[in-house]
Symmetry: C2
Subunit: 302 residues, 2 copies
């Protein structure tokens, strides 16, 4: 079992879906990621919050054993995001973004974080992602997430950091945008030529696909009868994925595939309620049970 | 190995895609279906063409051993369809439909067809599908395809025939439209309450899912680097699916799952070229090879 470091955002989300709404609920990429990963391996978090950030939220992560010594508490407001989803729940409409202290975020790594063997660079400015890479000591595996905003606005910086990471996790629209290639198969292969050995494409209700050294692997999404709020699904997926890799300590094709399925399992729980609500009442038994169901749904030979 | 009967259309298609075009090429649901199924089991075809239908097309099916004694040749023009696809290749835009002799099609079964154990009712008027059911003698398995046109225009007739079939094959939009339920998981389960024991939802580039007795199975689509023309993919899928079931002779969960994957294999070849071009130069070796690749792409444990 190896340690896992995440650098990303801790935020307060206000979300409206056809099924209800929440205001200033716990959110952020590093939050979903570390909570999900904590079921599999010890997690270390680097992020920033303002002085307004509720203590109770930190306790939630601390109780999962997440090492919060890299969480900066700065003068100012915590990063706030407000969005809403329509009935198709596939894409959020951003209503408001207030960066607050996140605007000046400069990731700073406590000394004992520098040798962390597994590293996840959540969706932040690719220049900051690159900075973090300069501060760590030869991690065994580095994975990176990004979004359309950086693909459009900081393409050169993104390609620079991509050249140095092992795995890229993106959704299908981002895959096409990054490569300017409409065919997803070609697009995924093209990303391999940018540096990563592995690309994981998240496709929401259609599951995920992974390409490693030219080999494809497909996992479905869990067939949920009601998706309540998709916020955080991608970061939860990444948390399950990286958590399983770090737990294994080594990265081979079999581990990567199990990690993809565990990522899908974790994401399927997150979307069952707002914020981290479902995750906070999740048991290891439920995780293993859903993993078995996934295996059953994908097995050809009976 | 059991015989397989298909009732559907034989047509001449004019298709334009971003990659080229063909005029009056061999098409039709029963054509794609029977050609694909012929790789697995003996096939019997019931359809109608006009006197203008090229002899060479019939020879193509005859050489695959397809029993054409149920093919009516009527005075008038063969059914013609013209359509085009944009770059996303997901939905055809119909440019022209000339029903010709298909407008008066009344399926007539040769005596030796009546006891065929496996029956596929391709996408035709649900009243005709119901008629065919009255003419056959207790088949082991009946599957049915339909489309938005009948769901909207002949809902009552469609539900009547659905109540008597074992399996429904539809795409995701049709599944939602038929059940008036946006959640695909709920929608698929709802269809089971209409009569079928099995529902297969075709999702194009996202693969297929099957629900049988409440159990889900997911298969991806083959990750093609270029899709040339998606016309006939669904009927080819159905041909592979039913062909494998008929070859097995019995229908259990394991056979159904293998059938879904073979259906996906066959469809992945069809879309590599216009009309049946790719199928006509397909070898059993290629089919088995791609089946193994599918198995490899879906297997979690290495």
């Amino acid at each position: 079992m190896a340690e896992l470091l995440v650098v990303g955002s801790v935020a307060l989300d206000s979300v409206q879906t056809p099924f209800g709404k929440v205001a200033d609920a716990l959110g952020g990429s590093a939050t979903y990621f570390s909570y999900a990963a904590s079921f599999f391996t010890p997690v270390r978090l680097v992020a920033v919050v303002g002085r307004d950030f509720p203590r109770a939220h930190l306790d939630l992560l601390a109780r999962r054993g997440v090492d919060l010594s890299g969480l900066q508490v700065s003068e100012g407001m915590t990063f706030r995001w407000a969005g809403e989803y329509g009935y198709d729940l596939n894409e959020a409409k951003t209503l408001d973004t207030r960066l607050g202290v996140f605007a000046e975020f400069r990731p700073s790594l406590p000394e004992h974080f520098r040798g962390t063997p597994f590293l996840f660079l959540a969706n932040i400015d690719p220049e900051l992602q690159y900075d973090v890479l300069r501060k760590v000591e030869r991690p065994r595996l580095v994975a990176l997430d990004t979004m359309n905003f950086w693909i459009k606005g900081k393409r050169r910086e993104l390609l620079r950091v991509l050249a140095e990471v092992d795995a890229l996790l993106v959704n299908d629209a981002e895959t096409r945008m990054l490569t300017e290639e409409p065919n997803l198969t070609k697009a995924a292969r093209t990303i391999l030529s940018y540096g990563p050995r592995t690309v994981v494409v998240k496709r929401g209700e259609y599951g995920a696909l992974m390409v490693t050294d030219g080999r494809f692997f497909f996992a479905p999404a869990f067939p949920l009868e009601s998706v309540f709020d998709p916020t955080g699904a991608g970061d939860t997926f990444a948390g399950g994925f990286m958590g399983v890799l770090a737990r294994a300590g080594t990265v081979d094709e079999g581990t990567l595939r199990r990690a993809i399925v565990y990522g899908s399992v974790m994401a399927s729980f997150t979307v069952e309620d707002f914020s981290l609500t479902r995750l906070t009442r999740l048991s290891e038994l439920e995780i293993e049970d859903r993993y078995r169901t996934f295996r059953e749904m994908m097995r050809i030979e009976q």
